[in-house]
């Protein structure tokens, strides 16, 4: 045998064993299907579970995205000192002019808006909508939220300075109140106060997560119109990009501590929430859940492996004479071992393929259920690779014992076997 043949020969043997194994599977179709059902169900459920979790993660991330991942919330918050100290609201609350110099001192912050919101019912003619968000906003709010005025005009500085009774409404509010296609100049009632509509704002992208069952209708009024010291306000800032969220947080903290005259030993009496941090946390939690769920479902693959081992043992004892003959004509024990190992692996991989199709099917069904909100569910490439790798490993693991048994058969005994 020349060196090239020595290199090629094992490959040829493997390839022949694969063909032989496929032939065996084809010859015992019903049995092969029954045997691989464990693997099929295992792979199908692993891939479907991972697909569903991936879809869930994606839909949550999309909601975060529409919410704005570069947003930073600044709110009054009593410091957690561990002691039972009662904080007075008057000491905690933000003052109207606390943030006037923030942009100069915080280079990572692009813009911000002071928001004070409460809920009220609104009405126009006979139409009434209750539990509506009424939000007092600064004109920069449109940049922070990335929601522009689609009809009419935004608030002017005069609207704010004079605390005028003007409002912007979103599209949903316009529809609910039965307003004309151009509602500017109309007067609506917010609580018991009359407001003139000056413009219409885009409705926010659907974000059920942060809804709390409130109405989707929104009404915006100038900050000074809405502001009362008792209600207070929060600040929503936009960092220049999600990547500099941490810097923005640090800069704002420094600015706020200075503004509120906190000494070094005093804790923050405000809180800064960075959306990007939630996103990062959510991502790591979601990955952990995916791993754990995939792992638990993956146990079913091991159960499938036991089925494979069982059928391989049957196959070895059924084909004892064949093994004897193969040995008599010169099959080495290693060739017999390889043949049965590959047969087990082929069974598992075929089962894996069928299971993957099943997983795709389940994923398609999940996607078509509108309430499930899993329209972004899909089996990621790594899950496909993983389940195939796992199926092959199961074949290798559970095929090993029957294959060793076959390889160790005594050729004389095997040929005598009935």
């Amino acid at each position: 045998m020349n060196p090239l043949q020595l290199l090629v020969a094992p490959v040829v043997l493997i390839y022949q064993s694969v063909f032989l194994a496929l032939g065996q599977v084809w010859a015992n179709k019903v049995r092969s299907i029954l045997t691989t059902i464990g693997i099929i169900i295992g792979v199908a459920s692993v891939t479907a579970v991972i697909a569903a979790l991936t879809g869930m993660k994606q839909s949550v991330l999309t909601q975060f995205e529409s919410f704005g991942t570069n947003k930073v919330f600044i709110l009054p918050y009593p410091p957690d000192t561990g002691k039972r100290v009662v904080w007075r609201w008057a000491d905690l609350r933000f003052h109207q002019h606390d943030f006037d110099e923030m942009l100069e001192h915080c280079p990572s912050v692009a813009t911000f808006s002071r928001n004070c919101d409460y809920t009220q019912s609104i009405s126009y003619g006979t139409h009434t909508e209750s539990n509506v968000d009424i939000v007092g906003i600064d004109p920069q709010w449109h940049q922070v939220e990335n929601r522009s005025v689609i009809l009419g005009r935004p608030f002017s500085l005069i609207d704010n300075e004079h605390a005028r009774a003007v409002c912007l409404i979103n599209k949903i509010a316009q529809d609910r109140l039965g307003l004309d296609t151009d509602p500017t100049g109309e007067a609506i009632m917010v609580g018991d106060r009359r407001f003139i509509v000056v413009g219409v704002v885009e409705s926010r992208a659907e974000s059920s997560m942060f809804g709390n069952g409130r109405s989707d209708a929104e009404v915006f009024i100038p900050f000074n119109t809405a502001y009362t010291p008792d209600n207070g306000f929060v600040v929503v800032a936009a960092s220049k990009s999600p990547d500099v969220s941490d810097e923005a947080q640090a800069e704002i903290t420094f600015y706020m501590r200075h503004k509120r005259h906190l000494r070094v030993d005093q804790p923050d009496n405000f809180r800064i929430e960075v959306v990007q941090k939630f996103v990062d946390q959510f991502k790591s939690v979601a990955s952990a859940i995916t791993m754990v769920a995939g792992g638990i479902v993956g146990i079913s693959l091991l159960v499938g492996g036991v089925g494979i081992m069982n059928i391989m043992l049957v196959s070895v004892s059924e084909r004892t004479r064949e093994i004897g003959l193969r040995k008599a004509v010169g099959a080495r024990p290693s060739a017999i071992l390889l043949q049965f190992l590959i047969e087990a692996m082929v069974l598992c991989l075929l089962g894996g393929m069928a299971g993957l199709l099943g997983g795709e099917g389940i994923t398609a069904i999940l996607k078509s259920i509108p309430q499930a909100k899993l329209d972004q569910a899909s089996i990621p490439g790594w899950a496909i690779a993983l389940s195939f790798g796992f199926a092959a490993a199961v074949g290798l693991l559970f095929g090993m014992f029957p294959a060793i048994k076959a390889a160790r058969l005594d050729p004389i005994e095997a040929l005598r076997h009935e």
Partner: protein
Amino acid sequence: MVIRLRNITKVYRVGAERIAALNGVNLDVDRNEYVAVMGASGSGKSTLMNILGCLDRPTGGTYELDGRLTTSMGASALAHVRNERIGFVFQSFELLPRLTALKNVELPLIYARAGWFSRRARAKKAIETVGLSDRMRHRPNQLSGGQRQRVAIARALVARPAILLADEPTGNLDSRTSEEILALFNQLHRSGQTIIMVTHEPDVARHAKRIIRMKDGRVHSDLPVEEDPVSELPAPTPLAGIPLEVSA
């Protein structure tokens, strides 16, 4: 010498008892000999056959096949020897039912790691030698008993073995087909093949050129066929229409 057995013993343990199946066998077989091994059941002829075929290892003694000492070889090396130097023909043919005749013949070459083309060509040639060129795409269950045994003989010959070992090759065949198979053996022998055949039928054994009779695990007699009692049997009435040789 193709085969050189020296003082071969084989002892089986049954519980605490030791049963000697072979009890010091010495045997030389030269190239192109045609030997029949005879003996009653329990005489040790099957054990001898298994050892000659490298399917089993003796308890003691040495066995040289084609100049190679096999008695010290491991399972893998013995498999290699069987593959290269020994062709087996069994009483019950032992063809793989799902493979065509041609694929069955190719089997030893697969384990010899021959390439596809040379495998095909050599298998076809071997099938031609046994006169079954028109049946090579058939599966065993589509062939008669005699044809199956010829496929098995082609499989035994395909790797050009040093010895052809036949274990009761006509045991499952009617007398007419048996004659055909023995005619094929005659032809192979004439073309230079070394053949060792185990049989208990004198009518079969008389085709060989040398008769070895086994008794109690020893070689009882080892004579040319002319001197052995089998030649004194009345010649079987030739069956009409059976060619003494198979036309290739």
